[in-house]
């Protein structure tokens, strides 16, 4: 039944869309208190992501929904297993989203400073925790023969997952910087470009080390094939080309290339996982795979028809949104 493979790819695409699009938002959120010294500058950087952040976040909701519908055992094991980490992600997303909407609605400096700090922490924490979560999917976590996670919160902290968190932070900073370089007001455009250029080399080093580490994990043995390596090479090359594009002030291309790097990185994780979705560190045979964690073929049929009709429509109107708001933030006029 090839539908399981299709849904594995679709879940991968939804998470990739989420990381590319929220990569701007989390990057901008992490840069927010540091790049912008005056209140007007801060409002400008929030305005750059204002019209799009909620549309971007839905990619996560869709990925979660797809996981539940197509791979209920993956959904159940991962969310109950990574319980505290996911609760922290949710709390971080909550304060961050509310912060973006509420921050500039009251002029009190204390109000604004509080939300600025919360937007920053929410963006940073989400980035760190998703990095750790995905790293642990590949590295393996203690899952017993009944698909029950028997570790705890501390199990998720290990060298590999912490390095992944660092790599995610750097990748999202390049992405956020590149986005601001296009969409910010005059000052944050300059700062965004600077950030993108300065973080690209550390991001590249972190990524290379992380890839080598991932490919040598015992759990990856036999799963690192030519395609996985190719994706990793593309991810690294895209960073080099992005730096070059930024040098030539091709800001649109810089952003596209950073996005390619994030996409290739995500795909390479999924490639190395395949056909597993969560690796058991206790016994490889207890790993969750697309075969033992999936829904039945009838449900997958229904879901496939729905997704194939709706996804093009979604891509259509989200493109329209980005096209409508393609202009940078004007220095004088601010929404947030």
């Amino acid at each position: 039944m090839w539908l399981r493979e299709l849904w594995f790819v679709l879940v991968g695409i939804l998470f990739t869309g989420y990381f590319i699009l929220e990569g701007f938002d989390y990057g901008v959120g992490m840069l927010h208190p540091f790049l912008n010294h005056t209140d007007l500058e801060r409002r400008a950087s929030l305005n750059a992501i204002g019209p799009i952040w909620s549309a971007n976040e839905v990619w996560l909701v869709a990925a979660g929904g797809a996981l539940f519908a197509a791979f209920p055992y993956w959904y159940a094991t991962m969310f109950s297993g990574f319980y505290l980490a996911l609760i922290l992600i949710l709390l971080a997303l909550i304060v961050r989203g509310v912060g973006l909407e509420y921050r500039s609605q009251d002029k009190s400096p204390k109000w604004r400073a509080t939300w600025d700090w919360l937007i920053f922490s929410g963006s940073l924490l989400t980035t760190i925790l998703w990095g750790m979560a995905f790293a642990n999917l590949v590295r393996g976590v203690p899952i017993n023969g009944h698909m029950v996670y028997v570790g705890n919160f501390g199990t998720l902290f290990n060298g590999f997952s912490l390095w992944a968190a660092l790599t995610f932070i750097l990748l999202f900073l390049t992405q956020g910087g590149a986005y601001l370089a296009i969409k910010g007001d005059s000052r944050s455009r300059k700062h965004g470009k600077m950030v993108a250029q300065r973080t690209v080399w550390p991001a590249l080093i972190a990524l290379v080390i992380w890839f080598v580490w991932m490919d040598r994990l015992p759990s990856s043995a036999g799963h690192v094939d030519t395609l996985a390596i190719l994706l990793q090479v593309v991810a690294v090359l895209a960073l080099v080309l992005a730096r070059f594009a930024s040098y030539l002030t091709k800001n649109g291309w810089t952003l596209v290339l950073f996005s390619v790097s994030i996409a290739s990185t995500t795909f390479s994780i999924f490639r190395i996982l395949f056909p597993r979705v969560m690796v058991s560190s206790l016994n490889p045979a207890w790993s969750l795979t697309i075969y033992n964690a999936s829904s039945t073929s009838y449900t997958l049929d229904i879901m496939s028809v729905t997704a194939l009709i709706i996804l093009p429509i979604i891509l259509g109107y989200q493109s329209w949104l980005y096209w409508t708001f393609r202009k940078p933030v004007n220095d004088e006029e601010l929404g947030y």
Binding site: A55, G65, L90, L91, Y102, Q105, Y298, T299, Y317, G335
Partner: protein, 470 residues
């Protein structure tokens, strides 16, 4: 308290809180869409100002609704992993379709609406809020498709210890869905209209932009008058459906311990002794329960003890009685709040016809406080629906205690910590939302220009802008 108890408390607290923000989102989107359509038709700037004012309140609300909705989607996996494994094949599909077909729509177009006032034509801008309204309602539809399946499972078989979908069509034509969805949707529009009516009344009372707020007073009164009748009519159909679908919930909602006579009375209030299975005191309306349940003058309603005996026979030994007092009183809270809204809406309509509503200061004050009524009704209605289904998580298929996440993965301490986190964060958000609402309402139609959503212009996305200086 046990791990199960904490998980139930967490689900209840976070869901009731989420449901404080969702119905008003659905209703207000619809009303703003109407106001903006009038603006497009008449070109009368007052309607534009009104749409912006209500839109501002809407956005404050929407932000909390969206972010708390994230938890709603994930908590089935977090706290109810065994349930998720058991029902995922059936239950996951409507949730996924909700994300793809509805949530994407509303989240995309809300951004376009909030930031598009001067970027889009008036007509296109009005279309964006209609799409948001459509998205929020579709969202409710798919969520309630999932919930209705928990109330009345259809279109599945049990295979290898899990529920497996056999007919998506059956799930979409679930009789429970077609009473639950219209009732909830219309209740949401009623909520939006009472929100608008109460705040308009307050503005008129304190003589702030009276001319403009009289218009939103009028629109919301008309919508409230229509929906307050419909919500009761459909709510009645939903309650009557329980006779067939969930007799235990109906019996508990009436605190009816033993099967009634052919002419059952309806208890307005009662003191309930759940230990002794009696109601020591009650005030009753004769014949009323029979009429409500069957729409005719004779018919007995099954009692809790009798349904319990049948369920023991069908499902084996166990206690199948939900918390009776909670079900009874949440049901009545909903009914009384709904009736009060009906009365207020029609008195407002009467004053509107007589053109005297701006002078009735006492009534304007009552309406202002009446903003609590839809919230009370919504929360109570939801509690009645969910608590009344206990001890089942999926009616007749899985007990709630069998659905909770394994303690090895999710110990009670984890749930306690996360509940503490949610309580702190949710309280802070509610505080911030109320603070901003009060501020926006105090400003009326003349807010601080610096805080307005304004357009942004400059160069193109994929063109090298030649550096950053302009």
């Amino acid at each position: 308290m046990t791990q199960l108890g904490w998980a139930e408390l967490q689900f209840g607290v976070t869901t009731v809180f989420h449901f404080f923000f969702v119905p008003v989102t659905i209703g207000l989107a619809f009303l703003i869409a109407i106001i903006e359509t009038i603006y497009v038709r008449t070109k009368d700037k007052v309607y534009r100002d009104l749409a912006k004012f209500w839109g501002h309140l809407f956005l404050i609300n929407f932000a909390v609704g969206v972010v708390t909705g994230l938890l709603q989607e994930f908590q089935f996996g977090l706290d109810w992993a065994t349930y998720s494994k058991f029902v995922g094949d059936v239950f996951g599909a409507p949730l996924a379709v909700e994300a793809l077909a509805a949530f994407f729509l509303e989240s995309t177009f809300i951004g376009a609406w909030a930031f598009g006032w001067d970027r889009l034509s008036a007509r296109a801008h009005a279309v964006t809020i209609w799409l948001v309204a459509l998205g929020t309602s579709l969202s409710a539809f798919w969520i309630l498709t999932a919930n209705s399946w928990m109330q009345e499972p259809v279109g599945y078989v049990i295979r290898d210890g899990r529920a497996v979908m056999t007919s998506f069509g059956d799930i979409l034509t679930n009789p429970q869905l077609w009473v639950e969805f219209p009732h909830t949707e219309i209740a949401a529009i009623l909520t939006g209209s009472f929100f608008m009516l109460s705040i308009s009344a307050y503005q008129i009372w304190r003589k702030k932009n009276v001319e403009a707020f009289s218009r939103s007073f009028k629109i919301s009164t008309i919508v409230a008058a229509i929906t307050s009748v419909l919500v009761i009519v459909i709510g009645d159909a939903q309650a009557a459906h329980l006779v067939k679908a969930q007799p235990m919930k109906l019996a508990a909602a009436e605190a009816l311990w033993n099967t009634s006579s052919q002419h059952a009375p309806w208890s307005v209030v009662a003191i309930i002794d759940a230990k002794k299975h009696t109601d020591p005191f009650q005030i009753q309306i004769p014949e009323m329960l029979t009429i409500l349940a069957y729409k005719r003058l004779s018919g007995a309603v099954e009692g809790i003890n009798q349904v319990q005996a049948q369920m023991v026979h069908q499902y084996g030994p166990g206690d199948y009685i939900p918390p009776v007092a909670v079900t009874f009183y949440s049901f009545r809270t909903m009914i009384f709040a709904g009736t009060a809204m009906l009365a207020l809406a029609y008195y407002a309509l009467y004053l509107l016809k007589k053109n005297r509503f701006t002078q009735k200061t006492w009534f304007l004050k009552v309406l202002t406080w009446a903003i609590a009524l839809p919230y009370l009704a919504n929360s109570a209605g939801w509690i009645m629906t969910e608590v009344g289904r206990q001890p089942w998580v999926v009616y007749g298929l899985q007990l709630t205690e069998q659905g909770v996440s394994p303690t090895a993965s999710v110990p009670a301490l984890d749930i306690e910590l996360s509940l503490l986190g949610f309580l702190v964060f949710y309280s802070a958000m509610a505080y911030a939302a109320v603070h901003l609402w009060k501020k926006a309402i105090a400003e009326g139609l003349d807010p601080d220009p610096e805080l307005q959503h304004k357009p942004t212009e400059s160069s193109d996305l994929f063109v090298g802008t030649g550096g950053v200086a302009r």
